[in-house]
């Protein structure tokens, strides 16, 4: 038991008005779903908690769950900050998230098939043509090509937030090479090691079944005529920031982790070089960007890819997950059309909300944006990782003027959205030795195969560790939490 002089960990927790706190009600009482958890954690003194926190950190270093940060050209090894206080998602809310995530993945898949075949959605004027023709991520090489199983986005990462109105909104669909799933599993492992006692009081869904489902999905899209497909994961190499994840997935699926130099193409078939000679490869889960997968077809300077891979893919002799060219469908300009895209292909109403988006490419909306920058978030259409984002209410007058000029110059490049207030969650802040409110989001992982779909029951809750910051990406100083989806309301 903590001694009197040791402060209890929640004693200095401050609730800011106007923010949606996931754990506490406005009157300071604990929400029913968190009640048991709060009582269990509340018994720890700051000192106990700091100890647990240090143990969790050491466990990440020893497991080698690290990423590289480049500072002044020196690579530094860091761990992804992990918070020991988990996030809980109510089974009813999860049900909606899961259905909504599958709906979006299926709609995006049909959209991709359409825009690389008949382009009906454009002919029907639901989506404007210039949205595709001006996109750098549209690959003409994919035109009229039928990917095995008819699947483009086998793996989707959907970024979802809860706004201050208590509703979930989708911020982004990631269907190129979404990463982060290994952290979901590691976070669970770390929390179990540090605080196994708390799991007795809740019935949370497992997250360790991701890899087996991924392998099954990959096997559903095997090339024609292959019985027992040989699947591999391809990585840019061990200096890539997500290398841990690549090796984790290969190991958990029990398949080979290859680099471009390990593969070669002969007569439009792909082989890997083993100590016993060559072995044919049928399905490739690729963690290399489109432009680098094949120097013969795309970026000729790529040393990461495999010469001739795309030709083999075109012949249907190998499957690629995700398919090349998916990037055209997850940029922020297409995002704004998602409600229409879902209705067009599935004849359904969107289950998950889209954020109201102003397109600077449209003159009336551009006018609104230029006049209301202080109330908006301005985002470049095609930047990943949280770069290039301006948040209106955090800018000085001078900065607003600058943003206005930049938008005027290239209106097509920008969209704007109302400033959303991401929900907050109590997060342990090391420098303060106490819990404070921090903004969070949720990345879910959806798998789509031929006649099979799967959503990982959990996901990566990312935390913006800087006070007041809304950007949760790990490259911008974000951390994460274990995320529990409950089996029943308990």
């Amino acid at each position: 038991m903590p001694e009197d002089k040791d402060p209890i960990i929640f004693s200095s927790y401050e609730s800011k008005r106007g923010l949606f706190d996931e754990v506490f009600n406005e009157d300071g009482s604990v929400k029913s779903i968190y009640k048991t958890l709060f009582d269990l954690y509340g018994g720890h003194s700051v000192y106990d908690y700091e100890n647990l926190n240090n143990k969790a950190k050491a466990s990440f270093f020893n497991q080698g769950i690290t990423f590289q940060v480049y500072d002044d050209e020196v690579a530094q090894e860091k761990i992804f900050p992990f918070d020991l206080f988990p996030r809980i998602i109510h089974p009813k809310e999860w049900d909606m998230i899961e259905k909504g995530a599958i709906q979006r993945s299926r709609a995006l898949n049909l959209f991709l098939w359409d825009i690389y075949h008949d382009k009906k959605i454009i002919k029907d004027k639901v989506v404007p043509l210039d949205l595709l023709s001006s996109s750098e991520n549209y690959l003409h090489q994919m035109m009229d090509l039928d990917p095995p199983g008819g699947i483009y986005n086998h793996i989707s990462g959907t970024d979802i937030i809860k706004h201050s109105d208590g509703q979930y909104y989708v911020l982004e669909d990631n269907i190129r090479c979404p990463s982060g799933v290994s952290y979901v599993i590691c976070n669970r492992t770390a929390l179990k090691r540090a605080l196994f006692g708390v799991f007795n009081h809740y019935q949370a869904h497992t997250v360790t079944n991701y890899a087996e489902n991924l392998l099954q999905i990959l096997e559903t899209v095997k090339p024609r005529g292959v019985d027992n497909p040989n699947c591999v994961v391809i990585t840019p190499g061990r200096f890539n920031s997500a290398y841990y994840e690549h090796s984790y997935l290969a190991k958990a699926m029990g398949v080979e982790l290859v680099e471009g130099q390990d593969l070669y193409v002969e007569n439009d078939f792909v082989y890997m070089k083993t100590i016993n000679g060559r072995q044919k490869v049928d399905v490739i889960y690729r963690r290399i960007d489109d432009t680098f997968i094949d120097p013969l077809e795309f970026n000729p300077n790529s040393a990461l890819g495999v010469p001739g891979l795309f030709a083999a893919y075109k012949k249907g002799n190998v499957s690629l997950a995700n398919a090349p060219g998916t990037g055209v469908a997850d940029d922020k300009a297409i995002y704004t059309y998602m409600p229409e895209i879902i209705k067009y292909y599935l004849k359904e109403n969107p289950i998950l909300n889209n954020v109201r988006t102003y397109k600077c490419s449209k003159s009336d909306e551009l006018k609104y944006v230029l006049e209301n920058i202080d109330k908006l978030v301005i985002k470049p259409v095609d930047e990943a990782g949280g770069y290039g984002i301006s948040i209106g209410n955090q800018l000085t007058k001078k900065e607003i003027e600058k943003v206005r000029e930049v938008i005027k110059e290239h209106p097509r490049k920008y969209i704007a959205q109302p400033i959303l207030s991401l929900s907050v969650h109590p997060t342990y802040i090391e420098e303060e030795n106490s819990f404070e409110q921090r903004h969070i989001d949720l990345r879910t992982f959806t798998l789509l195969g031929k006649d099979k779909e799967f959503v990982l029951k959990g996901g990566l809750t990312r935390v913006a560790l800087k006070k007041g910051n809304l950007i949760v990406n790990s490259s911008q100083g974000g951390g994460s939490k274990d995320t529990w989806v409950l089996k029943n309301e308990s």
Partner: protein, 324 residues
């Protein structure tokens, strides 16, 4: 219906990583022990020269392949200790070896056990975070002992947690080729010291204190005493460390291990004269039928010859298994 068995195979690149992981783990152990034994035995060595700090520091640099030939140059103890142990700029330092072992492990992490990978990682972070100032002043014993223990843990994990298949065979090949190489290099370094320490009286070389140090450098002193029950001489030491197949660190024992593990990798039963297993078998047979007196006539020549043959075997392996 049984389980669907995957065709077990291994990427040539990954095999190369495994091989070098084994080599670097082994190398860091021998280096750590060499530093430890030489430093601490020199403190109360019987001979004036072998008690000299300068002599001991020169021996360390000779061992890592960065000899200081200028006799007038005064070596700085802290610098030499730092360079051989914790200087990341020196490719031969303990830390560089551990780093390289870990980088190779990173490239194979989907194949090796979690327990082994975590142990390598823990080892790496231990070395990386070791306080340099503490080390050069009073940490040598603590650091080197810890390095030796960690390598023993790693060997335990390799043997006890991996499938004894091709992955295991390749790591063991790396370990044993490195062991034979390092043992020969240590013999070379200490033979060099023994010659220096006795001047031109060649009969004294045979009874030099350096042979005891040599045996300790290879962690074989106690067992050698048990085997011969006599004070080590040049003849008995060389016989024990090169020819005695029961000594786990002898060259003979390493070659036996290499033969055993290379046979796991052999693609065809017929051993071509252009294969690794042929080269290994040949060297083993030669050493098996060598008498220690023949070695003693020309220790330097013999050492050079073995080193060259081991390099040849390693290169042949690389060509046969790691490139495609």
């Amino acid at each position: 219906m049984g389980f669907k068995k995957r065709i077990v195979t291994m990427l040539a690149r990954v095999a190369n990583n495994l091989f070098w992981m084994g080599r670097y783990i082994e190398r860091s152990e021998h280096l750590a022990r060499y530093l430890n034994v030489n430093y601490f035995s020199s403190l109360d060595a019987p001979h004036e020269l072998s008690q000299s700090r300068q002599f001991m520091l020169r021996s360390m640099l000779f061992m890592v392949g960065d000899p200081m030939n200028d006799a007038r140059h005064e070596l700085d103890e802290e610098n030499v200790l730092f360079d051989t142990s914790l200087n990341q700029e020196k490719f031969y330092s303990v830390i560089s070896n551990v780093k390289a072992a870990r980088e190779n492990a990173n490239g194979t992490r989907d194949l090796i056990s979690t327990g082994l990978y975590e142990a390598i990682n823990r080892f790496y972070h231990y070395v990386l975070n070791y306080d340099v100032n503490f080390f050069v002043k009073k940490g040598l014993y603590d650091f080197t002992v810890h390095v030796m223990e960690q390598t023993a843990v790693l060997r335990g994990k390799i043997r006890g947690s991996l499938l004894h298949d091709e992955v295991y065979a390749i790591i063991m090949l790396g370990i044993n080729i490195e062991r034979a190489t390092q043992v020969i290099r240590i013999i070379n370094a200490k033979y060099h010291d023994a010659e220096m320490a006795t001047g031109s009286y060649s009969n004294q070389v045979a009874h030099s204190f350096e042979w005891t140090t040599l045996l300790k450098c290879i962690e074989s002193y106690d067992m050698m005493r048990r085997f011969y029950r006599k004070t080590p001489t040049s003849l008995s030491t060389l016989e024990f460390l090169i020819l005695n197949s029961d000594c786990p660190r002898s060259v003979m024992n390493s070659l036996n291990q290499i033969c055993k593990h290379v046979s796991v990798l052999k693609k065809t039963k017929s051993s071509s004269k252009d294969s690794t297993s042929f080269l290994v078998g040949k060297l083993r047979a030669e050493i098996e039928f060598t008498r220690v007196e023949a070695i003693e006539c020309d220790v330097n020549g013999f050492i050079q010859q073995i080193l060259e043959r081991l390099v040849e075997i390693s290169q042949k392996m690389e060509k046969e298994f790691f490139t495609y």
